[in-house]
Symmetry: D4
Subunit: 246 residues, 8 copies
């Protein structure tokens, strides 16, 4: 039985550290370890959460996601040995830096991440950083939107070889439908908030991708490169299974 902390009349902001309930065994339970989501946390809280996960009983990589400069600096200072991927910002200007500690050894299973435009690269890179933290070789091919179909067709071989394909696209998100018709691999689509106007900050792409005419596409939340990578990690884990499954 846990011991919830009582709220004092005037709690300091620092009290929030005590509010973290680290899920140390998530890696064993779900195949992806708990990550520290930086937005809304002070740099100190980010550092503490990372430290807690590193010193806990859990396995798997420790990730700090969507961190800004101060958050990643504080976390790296207190927890040496991390490596940082600065993916830029998404279209809503949220910083997309991912810091990794205890990165996994190389694992079987490769991912191919396609983006429709260069504006989708930050989300794609966040996904790639997470996949690499789990040990999966990952290739990013950017700017292959369907307005010039030859660009994606030029990567048909990569599509055929990949074990899992992520398609990162904003606006109308048509690249997902096209790519899914060119590969037998599972296709995970990430709608992005790239663009302006009718893209409705990613809602248009989200709807379009879930309404795709290409059977077998699955979709994650808007700008959710992290979630797409986690889904890919769960998927690629099937390559580790041997013997018969029930």
């Amino acid at each position: 039985m846990a011991h919830p902390q009582r709220l004092h009349p005037v709690p300091g902001v620092d009290a929030a550290a005590a509010d973290l309930r680290l899920d140390h065994l998530r890696m064993a339970r779900t195949g992806v370890a708990e990550a520290v989501y930086a937005p809304g946390k002070t740099p100190g809280q980010c550092a503490s959460a990372v430290a807690g996960l590193l010193s806990g009983p859990g396995a798997g990589p420790v990730l700090l996601t969507r961190a800004d400069g101060l958050q990643s600096a504080a976390a790296l200072l207190r927890n040496p040995g991390g490596t940082s991927v600065d993916a830029g910002s998404d279209a809503t200007d949220a910083p997309l830096t991912t810091v990794t500690w205890r990165a996994g050894a190389p694992r079987r299973g490769t991912a191919l991440v396609l983006t429709a435009g260069t504006g989708d690269l930050p989300v794609a890179r966040e996904a790639a950083a997470v996949l690499q933290a789990y040990g999966h070789a990952t290739t990013v091919v950017a700017d292959v939107g369907v307005a010039g179909l030859h660009r994606v067709l030029a990567h048909r071989e990569s599509l055929a070889c990949a074990d899992v394909v992520l398609v990162v696209a904003g606006m109308e998100g048509a690249l997902a439908s096209v790519a899914a018709g060119l590969t037998t691999a599972p296709v995970i689509a990430v709608p992005t908030s790239t663009g302006y106007g009718s893209g409705l900050e990613g809602v248009t792409a989200l709807l379009a991708m879930t309404a795709s005419c290409s059977p077998g596409i699955t979709v994650v939340g808007i700008d959710n490169g992290f979630g797409a990578a986690c889904a890919a990690v769960r998927t690629l884990a099937l390559l580790q299974r041997d013997g018969e499954s029930a």
Copy 2:
């Protein structure tokens, strides 16, 4: 100055015929003649409106659109010489029969109408019927959705030859983006209510098509094959222009 009719306390439904204000000169003014939109009109009103347009000072084809069986029968009985195209129903079960009187002589300019699936055919056929009423040779190529890209690529030559391309698609509407990358012709996209669930009765396709990454696509309303054809007729009229424009 017009003489508006006074509303009597208990107007009969028949009074509606007097409420029609036929726009006889629309063909001269806008390049497309007024058409009779059947829904909400009695068969008798449909027949009267067609008769009024046929006997009026206006030019151009006379069309009865979105008629059901009774409406088209009544209109044809009173106004002999019409030809009827029964395009089936759209995904909301609205009947899509178009009846044409005074069809135009063949005019320069050909249209290519692509559909993503067979469910989009009724809207495509309505558009084709309108284009043909204006004298434009029109070809419909159905079921070339992007899930199997080779299907649309097989029609690359048709795309290159067409003077205007209409793309009729529901669900995520990705065919519009792909087709626009394969032709120099103007591309008019028609979102349809085909499908179920996340297609949101055509809203998803409408948003996606207006957010397309392929520059130069224009879009009409959901299931609006008639409007797309009118836009195509206005466009193809440029081929009749000779000499320098200002």
Copy 3:
């Protein structure tokens, strides 16, 4: 180069059969074969399309999906040897019968399909029928919504053993988030139109599932059991891969 058919002024409805462009090689290209989507087709067109796929060069199961009674009867009469799964109707009263011809031999990889309520069963059964057509042993566990958490916890072992998990849920769709915390398998969520009012015919579940706090969930379209199964088939195909991937 294909030969698009010209639209004659008054095309008969039967002409639609010629509009089908069967994608015989989709199985080889994408890992899932083209299926015949019944809505909007006449019984005769359904039967023809199935016949065309059966006699073509393609491999894999031939499926007729979302068929009503007449459509499945006509298709079975013309193409003997099919087996039919009548899954009932979804919450919008669309019939969900799936007919399978040339079902696949048993393949490695098992699927677990969870539903939140009994109202989600038709969509779950459609997904199961498709998975079984591809040879994957599939178990459906219904009515384990989170209002009584012990129900899903009782199936923790099944969750741990499954190679892929489908979660079919309407209303707020919370079962997806909970299930994903209890398994290392990929989790594919299917929002359904089950329920009334605030469920907004599946839109609420669609949004909620894509916004899930459990990392690694992916989502398909509303009521799209077929699409979820196709995604699962693509995923389970990883179990057939041997040797190193690039």
Copy 4:
């Protein structure tokens, strides 16, 4: 009969103080006293409104809500004796400081406030501050989202003991459905704007919570910790009732 003030051609901003119509008897009438909502008011107006309530005929605590630093400082300077709870900011960066004067004596009835993530803490703390101002012992248990179900299950005993439960969650808001299955207490859900993308700034959680499969959940507005606390105060007042009700 009130005497509405006439608007002069160029009213100063200070005139707004005269526009306040303090509802001194709201505590008696509704069980919760009028509070001063800070946004849109100058620091001086905040101070004046608090002073007006303190010196008026009304009973109950006097609260200044959603104040920024200047507003709370001005109000505390003019009205000594207040205590301030700085809860941080909600996901839209609105400051969530609550200042309390004339806090109530301890009253029977305890509240348990659960949050799905640490990002939901500011709204949870605002709710707790209001509940404590009315004399109710309140415990906040943060970061027990359903991705790691053991976290909320560890508090099953607290859930069983609480007289009222508030669930503060953004994203898909699934914690509300789960918690409601684990307690007989009334459950008040607060959707928050925490997160990004598909959470749609709280709209997703709002829809999901009102569509919950767990019967007996009620919901307040997005980020409305104050409203949830007021509802809880009304609810806990039932514990003060003795004898038979009609």
Copy 5:
């Protein structure tokens, strides 16, 4: 560990009965017993589910909700002793008959159910039927919408006496805000799909009620009289608590 049933290739529709996982202990766990939601179930399944709950280890009333004529007849035939409340239909024409078995003995705590218009009565009566099944005396006061404020003001005394107030209203739902200003009781608002046009089938009322300016209103889903009653039952249970709570 549960034993999930395997799905056979062509399962009969009857198999669904086996898919029910009755939550016999929900009454003890949450204060409200599991109810049988009729839509989507055959009459036989409704009868079976009721029989299962009646013969199981659980306590509390057994309810069949939103049943049509055949469903309630079948359930009453197999399970004698039930009483039926035919509340009419909601604005989407869904039948709202509630059948009760094992109704609870009278319990302390009275509910007042207000409706804005007579069109809101069916949902109000469904709520009342559920409250009465749990033993709570319930009064329905209909047609007291705010267009004629004297109507609700005439019931000010009832509002002051009630232990809990339910407000059932469609269109703009303003009655909830007004009623909450006239009572100290908890106020549970039920948006309904009553009306046409701008009411957007209840969405307008749902948004308006959650945005209410009257602090302390809570809201359930559109047309969800059952859920509102369950929330009221949980709330009124506080009147049964004696001694100190933690």
Copy 6:
């Protein structure tokens, strides 16, 4: 103090008559009398409600609105002397018959009702019937949509003379903006659900009319001809005022 009726366990549907709380003095209080809204009421309830209003202390016309054939017949049978205006149906197929008893003597103030298309006539006629019941001479000019601008310009003189103008339009509702630029009269816009697809059942017109670039347009709910007429009656009442107002 009113005496709310207790709900008996199995109330008959007839009990609803007792639930009506007729607002006899609404005419004196608001300038428009209470009307009986037929949908959701039995024919008998409609008849009773009309009888109640006719025999009560109130003044002004008694109206039964949106009645179907049975409802109007029953009401007229029990309450002789009514006159019925059958306006047809709105685009959602709701019948729009208005029955009037105790119609007002002619009053100063004329209304001009414009419609964009003939499909908007039913809503326009409902508005006209209500205005005439209050004694205001009303002219309906249909089918003057902006696609042929000369049609509305032909009525410029009528626009200049009218004391109030109602504009009834679906689709994009542009007629409201145009008409408001041609008259000094107050302009009340009624968005209708006329049309299909992108009109979104009137939502598009509602948004467009409230976003109009013509200053001074006001808007009522979708298809709400009754509400528009009531607003016009309130407006025209200013013509009855004499002497100085405060």
Copy 7:
């Protein structure tokens, strides 16, 4: 025939002044004069537009609306004699200063402007400034939201005397429905973006007001105090009409 200016390759921003097409006769044509909408214009353009209107053939007051400090300063400097009403900002932080030149002589007809909260005052004051510019005595009564019904009831006499009533309210906008039940005057409702979360920046109030149960309310756009005032000016002009209208 107008002479459209040709666009030069690199037009200076100043060229925009030439793009203004002042509608000098709008006062005569519509009863309200053209106003200069400041957002998007440079201070110089604001000053020029005002100067153009003042020196043109038109009648009526000249207004600069929604100006920020620089815009109003520049306009006043170049055009002496204006008076400025600084109404504060709306909830989206847009400045709401209205500057008036050539204000009208007092005219018959008084307006009462109610606001639900003090946050609605800026929009209310903008409306009042416009009404006063046209010569109408205008009273603003703020903070009479329905949570404390006595506040609006205290102004029942003012409601009865006013010639037109404006109701300015955000959140759920219920004040409009209540006020319309207490006056025979036309009621114009202005939804505001006041508040946070479920108010959806005014969309909730807009929907609620157009769905009001009080017949005869009309609505303008979100935060559109200017438009509401223009509608009121058109309405009050009826008081100037004498003799019989047609």
Copy 8:
């Protein structure tokens, strides 16, 4: 076969340049050349992309769109000879500078760009800059919104002469419907985010324009002046065609 670059653990932001896949042959394939969309690119990346296009095998103008000051400066510095059109900002404050290199020789076909208000000018000027880059004489006529109909009617002759008409309008977008009734030219409507409140940042205009009652209007995305110009360029290319088309 392309050579996708591998993602290194800590890629520098500069790596993005390598991610550009310039579509050199887009002019030949689609009639409009690839343009460089500036948002999300560093000044250096903008300059590189322009340089790449200029030195590549492609034909047609090279455009940098939606550039801010730094981006256009860097691009012009590295690639001399460009000309810049600073169109101002759209209503979401996005800068709308277009820089053109290798502008086309004059081509047959003139465009008329109408705007409803001066706030729509930036988007209109962006469209004009693109059209002029392709060699088409373009005239912008601003501020001819339908509130003063004489303004657009004064340009009836220009409307009759233009080969293509663009209508740029926010708010309710009614100008598109009106203009389409006054010309035989194709009409391309651009909804803008101009205005506030009910305009919903362009969504209202987008919906209204696609629901237009004037047949033959086509629509592009919100604020998408570039896309509208590209559609116009494709359309005007028909004037270059000579001889018979197939």
